[in-house]
């Protein structure tokens, strides 16, 4: 089964995303900030990461830059999922190595579509 790490400091968002992703066949791990996510990735690199931008301890963009520098860190498909919805943020995410980008609010169709778009 493919694995997806859901990284968001909101427990509600993690829960919503988990339900959607489980429905389309992913096994889910959760992290509440970038630091926790990095620890997860070092233990077991997921196939996909759904990543919030604004989080305490370590933001999504900081996490992404660190992830892409890790051994095997190029492997996971990273999809940002954030309220940041301007071109500056989108371009910054793409330059840091994001594969896709979801602007909140999202629905199940958008998540499923973006993962396929990103190659999964």
């Amino acid at each position: 089964m493919r694995t997806c790490l859901v990284v968001d400091d909101s427990r509600v968002i993690r829960k919503v995303a988990r339900r959607i992703l489980e429905d389309i066949g992913y096994e889910i791990a959760e992290a509440a900030d970038g630091m926790e996510a990095l620890a997860w990735c070092r233990a077991a690199m997921p196939d996909a990461i759904l990543l919030d931008w604004n989080m305490p301890v370590m933001t999504g963009i900081e996490f992404l830059r660190k992830l892409r520098a890790e051994p095997d860190g190029e492997a996971p498909v990273v999809v940002f999922c954030t309220v940041e919805n301007d071109l500056d943020h989108i371009r910054e995410a793409l330059e840091a190595g994001a594969n896709e980008y979801i602007m909140k609010p999202f629905d199940g169709d958008i998540i499923a579509d973006k993962l396929v778009e990103a190659g999964l």
Binding site: N85, D86, L87, I90, L94, I102, I110, K114, E117
Partner: protein
Amino acid sequence: MTPTDIAQVVSLCRARAGLKVAPDKTYLIESRLAPVARREGYDSISDLLAAVRARRDDPLVWSVVEAMAAGESAFFRDRAPFREFRDEIVPQLKRARGGAPIRVWSAACGAGQEVYSLAMLVGEMLESDPDLRIDLAASDLSRLALERAQGGVYNQFEVQRGLPIRLLAQHFEKEGEQWRLASDVRARVKWRRINLIAGLRQIGRFDVVLCRYVLSCMTEDAQRKVIDDLACIVPEDGYLVLGVKEQLGSIAHAFEPVVGRPGLYRRNPAFAAAAA
């Protein structure tokens, strides 16, 4: 809405646009016509339809039919047809046309996502093949839809339906909470109002016609008429693209499916004699 109102909508749509409206889908009819009633200054849908009956006012009739004809769309809907367009259809037609433009028509274009997906794709193809000549045309029954499509403005949900983020960043600018497609992409498309059942044989040759998720909303008579007309404007080496889940079935005589390519049809050579 009364049964008479519903019967009137069903019959108007069939007569004017060959549109098949299911009389039991009251909620659909109401959700489409409520905005029309508001826009035209009527208190209710029944008032709007009474005015249509009383005045036989053509623009008012069309505003009802056009609202019922509207469909949902998405950028790069179904994905595969766009890959086939780029990798199979265009290379083959380019060889066959020897420098003459390949003419492509997006029929019933709605808010324009399909034809703009093609326009962005053609832009990428031109980067590796500057000699490529592709003319893009788009049509819809609805004047409102055409106006919207030409503006190229979409909300946040719409730009997240099928559009890769890379293309959003490359071709769109944010205006408030909306996203506007760049003018160079919009300028690749020519627009026309076309009623598919009003006769298509005068509109000229089209090498590729995309008519996706349209025929399945039409009556069988209307479908047959559209297909027969398309057979006269699509050359023998041209293509008709339907929705991947759409099948022509018994009305397919003018076109035949391309094996392994759901929704893709070629002219049926056996039909050429009959059309001529």
